[in-house]
C-alpha cells in the first residue's frame, strides 16, 4: 500500500483532473441535459468539483478517506439538483470504506458502496436511463476483474471504464424511467444520458490518475473482448 501522503496526493490529483475535465466538458454535458433535462448538469458538476478543488489546501492535513468525504460534502452543498445527493452523498457514504487506506481491495468496496448508495437514493435500476447504466457495468467489471481474474488494479480499472462507456452508449436508445427525463416519456429515446456521461468522464480521470500513480499505461477499447492490453 502506498504511504498516506502519496494516497492523499493521488486523491487530490484525481480531484484536480476531474475538476478540469468537467470544466472542459461543461457545455457538452449541458447540451445533453438540455435535450432531456433542465440544462444545468454541466454547470452544476463544474461548479461542485471546482469548489472542491479550491479547497485543496484545507485538505492537505487530512487522512485520505477524510479528503474523499469532504469532497462529497462539498458537492452536496454546491452541485444542486439531484446530482448533489447522488454524487456527493454517495461519495460521502462510500468514503468510510477507505478508512483503512486506499488499496485495491478497499477501492472495490468503495465502488460497491457508491453504487449501492446511488441505487438506493435514486431508486434507478439498469435500464432506467441514468448514471446507474454506466455504474453497474463498471463496478461489476471492476470487482470481477480484481477478485476473480486477479488483474492488476490499473487493468481492472481500465476494463471498468470500458464497461462504463458501453453503459453510456446503452442509455441512448432507451426510454427514461427515472429523473426529469422520465417526464418526456418516449421523447427521451435517442438521447444520451448526461449523468451516465459525467460518470464516465469522472471514471476516465480516475483512470488517468491511477496510470500516473500506478506507473503504467493501458490501451482501452470498449468493443474488443480482451479489451485491455498493457502498452510497452
Amino acid at each position: 500500500m502506498a504511504d498516506v501522503d502519496t494516497q492523499r496526493e493521488a486523491v487530490l490529483e484525481a480531484l484536480d483532473n476531474v475538476s478540469t475535465r468537467l470544466t472542459d466538458e461543461k457545455s457538452y454535458l449541458t447540451d445533453l441535459d438540455s435535450a432531456i433535462g433542465d440544462a444545468d448538469h454541466g454547470s452544476n458538476m463544474q461548479r461542485g468539483f471546482s469548489k472542491a478543488a479550491e479547497k485543496r489546501d484545507d485538505f492537505s492535513e487530512m487522512e485520505p478517506h477524510e479528503v474523499v468525504k469532504n469532497i462529497g460534502t462539498t458537492l452536496i452543498s454546491n452541485v444542486g439538483g439531484a446530482s448533489g445527493p447522488l454524487y456527493g452523498g454517495s461519495i460521502m457514504f462510500a468514503s468510510q470504506e477507505l478508512e483503512g487506506g486506499i488499496t485495491t481491495e478497499s477501492s472495490v468496496a468503495f465502488a460497491e458502496a457508491y453504487l449501492d448508495k446511488v441505487k438506493d437514493r435514486g431508486g434507478a435500476q439498469v435500464g432506467s436511463k441514468t448514471m446507474v447504466d454506466a455504474l453497474v457495468p463498471a463496478v461489476h467489471t471492476y470487482k470481477k476483474s480484481v477478485e476473480q481474474d486477479d488483474l492488476p488494479p490499473l487493468e481492472a480499472l481500465a476494463k471498468a471504464v470500458d464497461a462504463a462507456e458501453r453503459g453510456v452508449a446503452f442509455t441512448t436508445p432507451i426510454k427514461a424511467l427515472k429523473g426529469r427525463a422520465s417526464f418526456l416519456d418516449w421523447r427521451s429515446v435517442g438521447h444520451q444520458d448526461p449523468g451516465a456521461t459525467s460518470t464516465l468522464f469522472i471514471m476516465e480521470e480516475l483512470l488517468a490518475t491511477a496510470e500516473e500513480y500506478l506507473d503504467g499505461d493501458v490501451v482501452r477499447d470498449a468493443r474488443a473482448d480482451n479489451a485491455v492490453r498493457r502498452d510497452e
Partner: protein, 128 residues
C-alpha cells in the same frame, strides 16, 4: 409540537403552501418553507437542513416534498441533521401539508400520526 417543513423546487411555492396550511392549522402549527436553491428553481440540502432545525422544538419534524431531488435532498438533510427526529410523508405536497398542519395541533400528535394524516391525502379526489 411536531414541526413541518415544506420542500418544493420553488421557494415561493413552498412559502405559499405553508401560508395556506398555516391558516388550516389555526395559526398554531410550526410550518417552515424550505424551497428553491441558490440558483432559483431546485432544492438544497443545506436549506432543508436549516428548515429541519428551525421547525424542531424537540418533538420532531415531518417533511412534505414535491418530487425528484426534493426527496433525495430531504433524505440527505435528515441524515445530516442527526439530532432532529424527522420523517418524510409520501403525500401530495399541498393537501398533505394541510392535513399535517391540522394533525400537528392535536395534543396527541406523533410523527407517525402526522405522517399518516398527510398520507391520507393521497386518496383525495377533486371531482366526485
Amino acid at each position: 409540537m411536531i414541526g413541518l417543513v415544506v420542500v418544493s423546487h420553488s421557494a415561493s411555492a413552498a412559502e405559499g403552501i405553508a401560508e395556506v396550511a398555516a391558516q388550516m392549522g389555526g395559526g398554531n402549527a410550526r410550518i417552515v418553507p424550505a424551497g428553491g436553491d441558490e440558483d432559483g428553481i431546485g432544492t438544497s440540502p443545506d436549506r432543508i437542513r436549516a428548515g429541519l432545525e428551525e421547525a424542531d422544538d424537540g418533538d420532531g419534524v415531518v417533511v412534505l416534498v414535491d418530487l425528484g431531488s426534493a426527496v433525495m435532498n430531504t433524505e440527505l438533510a435528515i441524515e445530516m441533521a442527526a439530532d432532529v427526529n424527522a420523517a418524510i410523508a409520501d403525500a401530495p405536497i399541498l393537501e398533505g401539508t394541510l392535513n399535517a398542519a391540522v394533525e400537528t395541533t392535536s395534543k396527541k400528535a406523533t410523527i407517525q400520526s402526522v405522517v399518516d394524516r398527510a398520507e391520507e391525502a393521497r386518496e383525495y379526489r377533486k371531482l366526485n
